[in-house]
Chain length 758, copies 2
């Protein structure tokens, strides 16, 4: 195995210091001359026609500089795809959920802005509303968007092989339905944006998952040429999917800035952050599995209903992602998937780092139920069905590297699976969840990344990349890759990133593309620069370029280390020669661009896939129904970790957000009102809730990944709920068919399971 100098080393992330010292500048910290404060008026109804909006009194309030409504826009609607453009950011026809943005005010201070909101008169005609997706699909239910019959936003149908025949021929068939409530993103930094429009240029500061995608959306919505919309890098306080898409907040703040030609800051409250940005889909998943006598899966059929809330958002993608990550894990010769995303009069649902717990945990729990019936160990069951390198997924994505087997075995070993499974005392259980995930998925010409690197006159380097860091350590990773190739320490490298003006297109922090796609672009650019450096040094030293290497800020002969010169000298020589060292690199993953999320869901989905297996050990208090996760082993094939500490950090965060959340996190609703929009009522895991975590890094050395690297951390986020649900099934003897595993549900399951396994 090749050893690298800096790649693979656990180093503090380059952005850590500013964050721990409090010096990192967040959007809310920004001050610009003449900046105004914005506030948003929101819908009090889940569904109502807007008859009239009167902003005149608010406009006359001293200190108010502008009031905007949807009538100030161009009527362009937002949607990820052309066929889902249904979200008018600020609606003019009707409101579709409680908390929907209706009007916005920019004033000299917050108090004035809030006072002005009270002066806006909106006349509504309340309409019948629908809150349950299954009800919403029935004929005669109130229609939320006229153009979507039965409120069905998206229907994804995937069919491979002869499913019905396979079921007929199966030794054993099970069908179960699993449900899960929606969750909140609950990122620590509420949604925030600062917009400054002047001279036809729109400048935006906001943490976001994809600056180029955001700029494009705003360019379309505001009809401003793309090169006059600049989304800038700024520190981020968590995203988890909650900053993936353009938001009414961006749009409203932009309209206000355009109207005033002054900078406008809009920071949402904690409650607004919960109700009016995005939430996680509630879900009902009916899963039917057919197996052979030996546990081999021969048929799968899924019907999944996603509660989409009021608008399409990332619906076309969200409606199949849980399925994909599952088919990337296991071999399905015959499979049928029907995913329905349905509109309801609730907040909009979007992508989430651990999207699909009903589906994924349901599948894994059902696999354990089948294993139990067959008398096969769940670990065995997974090893038998897991995809290996060289195989293809059901929808024809080739797997080029897989650490699945190693992850399963090492997780089992570290968790003392053999010693514990079936041998734990009453109320305790151990369970495994597995998943694979795509690294980079098709986003058209935005699927690739590119990088420009320049060598500065002190022998330091600046790398310019679109890669954005939403807290994962992506920035640090890019610097480590450059450091490895250029042979200079990380402190000699400046990173310019996530700014639409100077960086090139990049997929953004979607689809786990940063390490695999962005990292490859940085690698290629630095290798280009290295070639230029070695060519000059070769001339100067009289040593062939292939005998030279870069290390310790020097160009050194590998054969005769006395032949060397400082990198700085070479760089200066290059400047003198009039050909400064400037490297260019670009990487496009080998994906099938004919593939389409809804209309043609077949073909290569991603350049590669990463794998993971989690084992949770739980203890249930049978009196109170309280669940404690005691131990968590997470084994993750990330190809080769660029920064193991960062990958482990991601794995630990995943255990909290997906694993521990499985016993507590849910959004509770009543008639379209979110009952727990704050952090007092909405429970997120605290330090005291955390299990002991054992992160295991599995190295499959991906042939395409930069230094063998793939995605780091998300597989654990997508299987941690499965491991907890499987462990609960093991502890209780009956499957919990609804998540999260809150005490009421656990007690109900215990009741149902009386006379069960123990």
């Amino acid at each position: 195995m090749q050893e690298y100098r800096i790649v693979g080393k656990s180093i503090p992330r380059t952005d850590s210091l500013g964050k721990v010292t409090g010096e990192a500048l967040y959007t809310a910290d920004l001050k610009l001359p003449k900046m105004l404060v914005a506030k948003v008026l929101r819908s009090p109804y889940p569904h109502a026609r807007i008859l009239h909006i009167d902003t005149s009194r608010a406009e006359r309030l001293p200190g108010v500089k502008a009031v905007v409504t949807g009538f100030d826009g161009h009527g362009v609607k937002w949607g990820v795809f052309k066929y889902t453009q249904d979200h008018a950011m600020l609606p003019t026809d009707k409101v579709r959920y409680v908390g929907e943005d209706v009007a916005a005010v920019a004033a000299v201070d917050e108090e004035t802005a809030l006072e002005a909101l009270e002066l806006i008169r909106v006349e509504y005609e309340p309409l019948p509303a629908v809150f349950d997706p299954e009800e919403a699909m029935r004929e005669g239910a109130p229609l939320i968007h006229e153009e979507y019959p039965r409120n069905i936003n998206i229907h994804v149908h995937i069919e491979v092989g002869d499913v019905d025949r396979a079921f007929r021929e199966a030794y054993l068939v099970r069908e179960d339905t699993f449900r899960a409530s929606g969750e909140a993103y609950a990122m620590m930094e509420p949604y925030a944006v600062v917009v400054h429009y002047q001279n036809g240029y729109l400048d935006l500061w906001m943490p976001n998952a994809g600056p180029h995608v955001r700029a494009k959306a705003l360019s379309n919505l505001l009809k401003i040429p793309l090169n006059r919309v600049r989304v800038r890098r700024i520190a981020i306080g968590g995203a988890f999917g909650g900053r993936s898409e353009v938001q009414p907040a961006d749009f409203a703040a932009a309209l206000l800035s355009i109207k005033t030609e002054r900078p406008v800051k809009l920071v949402l409250t904690r409650e607004e952050n919960a109700t009016s940005i995005r939430q996680v889909h509630d879900m009902v998943a009916t899963i039917k599995t057919g197996v052979k006598r030996d546990g081999t899966i021969v048929a799968k059929e899924f019907k999944v209903i996603y509660d989409g809330g009021a608008y399409s958002s990332t619906g076309p993608i969200a409606t199949s992602i849980p399925y994909y990550v599952y088919e990337e894990t296991y071999r399905f010769p015959n499979v049928r998937y029907d995913g329905y995303r349905v509109f309801t009069n609730k907040g909009i649902r979007g992508m989430y780092g651990c999207h699909g717990r009903a589906f994924l945990a349901g599948n894994e729990v059902q696999l354990d139920m089948i294993a139990e019936e067959l008398g096969i160990d769940p670990v065995e069951m997974r090893l038998k069905n897991g995809l290996r390198a060289g195989e293809e997924t059901a929808t024809r994505s080739k797997i080029i590297s897989s650490g699945f087997e190693e992850a399963v075995l090492r997780a089992a070993e570290r968790s003392s699976w053999k010693e514990k499974r079936g041998k734990l005392p009453r109320g305790q259980g151990i369970g495994m969840g597995c998943v694979a995930i795509m690294c980079g998925f098709p986003m058209g010409f935005r699927s690739g990344s590119s990088c420009y690197v320049k060598l500065n006159d002190d022998g330091q380097a600046t790398i310019v990349t679109g890669v954005v860091d939403n807290g994962q350590g992506n920035e640090s990773m890019m610097v480590q890759i450059a450091s490895e190739i250029l042979g200079i320490p990380v402190e000699d490298i400046n990173l310019v990133n996530a700014d639409t003006e100077v960086t090139n297109l990049d997929p953004g922090a979607y689809s786990q593309a940063a390490a695999f796609v962005g990292g490859n672009a940085v690698r290629l650019a630095c290798e280009d620069a290295k070639r230029q450096i070695l060519a000059i040094a070769s001339d100067k030293l009289g040593v062939p370029a292939e005998e030279l290497e870069l290390r310790d800020r020097m160009v050194i002969s590998k054969k005769d280390p006395s032949k060397k010169m400082p990198l700085r000298w070479v760089v200066r020589e290059a400047f003198f020669m009039g050909r400064p060292v400037m490297g260019i690199g670009a990487y496009m993953p080998k994906i099938d661009f004919e593939r389409e999320w809804v209309k043609n869901p077949y073909g290569q989905m991603a350049g590669t896939f990463s794998f993971g297996a989690s084992v949770a050990e739980v203890r249930v208090d049978e009196e109170t129904g309280l669940v404690r996760i005691e131990q968590f082993v997470a084994a993750h094939d990330c190809g080769n970790p660029i920064n193991p500490m960062a990958v482990e950090g991601q794995m630990e965060g995943s255990v909290a957000q997906a694993g521990v959340a499985t016993v507590m996190e849910e959004c509770r609703w009543h008639e379209g009102f979110l009952l727990n929009p704050d952090l007092l009522e909405y429970k997120v895991p605290l330090a005291c809730d955390m299990p002991q975590i054992e992160p295991i890094i599995v190295r499959s050395h991906d042939p395409e990944g930069p230094f063998g690297a793939k995605e780091g951390g998300l597989t654990i986020r997508m299987n941690a709920h499965s491991a907890v649900a499987a462990a609960l099934y093991n502890a209780l003897g009956v499957p919990l068919k609804e998540l999260p595993a809150t005490p009421d549900r656990v007690l109900e399951a215990i009741e149902k399971g009386k006379g069960g396994r123990r």
Copy 2:
């Protein structure tokens, strides 16, 4: 002559709109969270030993966050060259001029900072001072720096040919001494800097002439690695040389920010701007010229004494620049130059856009005196001696293009020279001044520029270049070059420039390098991008790349215009292919790097030279001595103007700053105190003082320049004073041997000239 679509067109500068609407953000407008205000304590003595500085009372004042003196630095001294590093930014040994920076305070507001200054106690021991450079050179004069005997800072000696023999053989020899007072830069925006130091990174916002040079200086002075010093682009309110170098203001603000880890803003007052930044050298030039009977110059000898003020600053360069621009104009087979820059206890003198009026105007007036003696027309005299393309300057710089002859002839024609010279009524006169100037001079590996261009997915482009715009229109020019090559309108082009983080080395706005050097780099980068575009389009259209052209946002076949596709499509295709269009270009002018300003002043100085001839027509009120410049014709060989309007704007500014200033601008001193540091007492030309200006653009189509372009505007700035002085000689019949031509000096000359020409 080749016609271009956008190069050569007069378009509004891309930065104009923000400036005329007031939306451009200047350094003083910047607000950063927790920003402090800085003020500087200055020396009240022209020369004094610092015995003790007590800042303790100031530090205890509530609201004061830090006080710094030179003891807070590392003792590093600044100088442009190693052998002139004598400026300790904040001195700890002694002060050398009134207004020198001694201590600085950062406080929560200006009032507190000012109050704190009064609480700092500095104990001084006054020392004998010297204010006149000729006195300062005498043995026994007070020494300002121990290491410079006779206070001689720099002595430049240039000798070519056999000067003494040539004088002996000359038909006519004249020797005259000319003097000129120093001037103020008087830029409208006072010197300003905002510094933010955090986590080891120093961020600076300030208008400046060369961000890379500034960052390097601060890196050295503060011992912060170069890649942790970032100088950013910000709007500029005039420079003219006054923002060329690192200043004590930068250093003091940086120390304060380092001490507080908070942003610090320092904006100088108008008076501080005059006394404590830089001024223009006072000068005494003794000029000896030998000619043949026909007016051919055969020998030149110069002795020039420059009053340097207290520190070296750009001394090594300033001590010969007037000579060089003159030898680049005329053929000198035998020449001896001795330039002495001498320290005095006055403010520091630096580079200026029209540096050297005593020397240049003196030479041109003396040429007219010789012409008069020989009975040759001054125009004839200039044509006879002017350098042509293919010739070499005395110090061996080859001239590759020259519009000298055309400039002289067209200026004469447009000014009705033949009709007026010798025929104007009493008190009126007409005179010509000529000069050539280097485009890019040796700054080591910083002499070149490079550019990175990326094509964005809407077919727009972003160009990244170090080129800085100090008001000349450089930014606009780079955009026009890119527009021409890429066939897209200027509004489709974003410019990222003058920021040390993302741009590569560039000489900066020194040495007239922007158009010639920076423009060439932009041209080459765009041509590189164009090649990539045409290669892809050629495949798609089935048309050979050489048959394709870029225009109107399309790739079009030159032979069959029906074969075309939008540039946007090609760019997107490139993204799909995983090789986005990214162009790289670099240009290093063909200069002699062995050349050194003082130690080896021979060899190719610049890539090319631009030429100009000015004709001024003046009217003198013989009662009051007031001079009015009535008409000014400026003919300028700028190779080929990228934006004629911008070049004409530069020419007009030059007439004001150099031409009209010749009758009014001077710094007046008394015992080391500047008597006129404000704009009430220091007279700058107002609209009512301006002559009618006729700008003439001469096109020599430089073979190396981008689209034939060379420097635009500075030749006029360097000869406008000569034209005015020559016109005054013509009006008065006696030469004015001291500038500016204020009424007192004019009246004295009239007195002296009684019985003169008229």
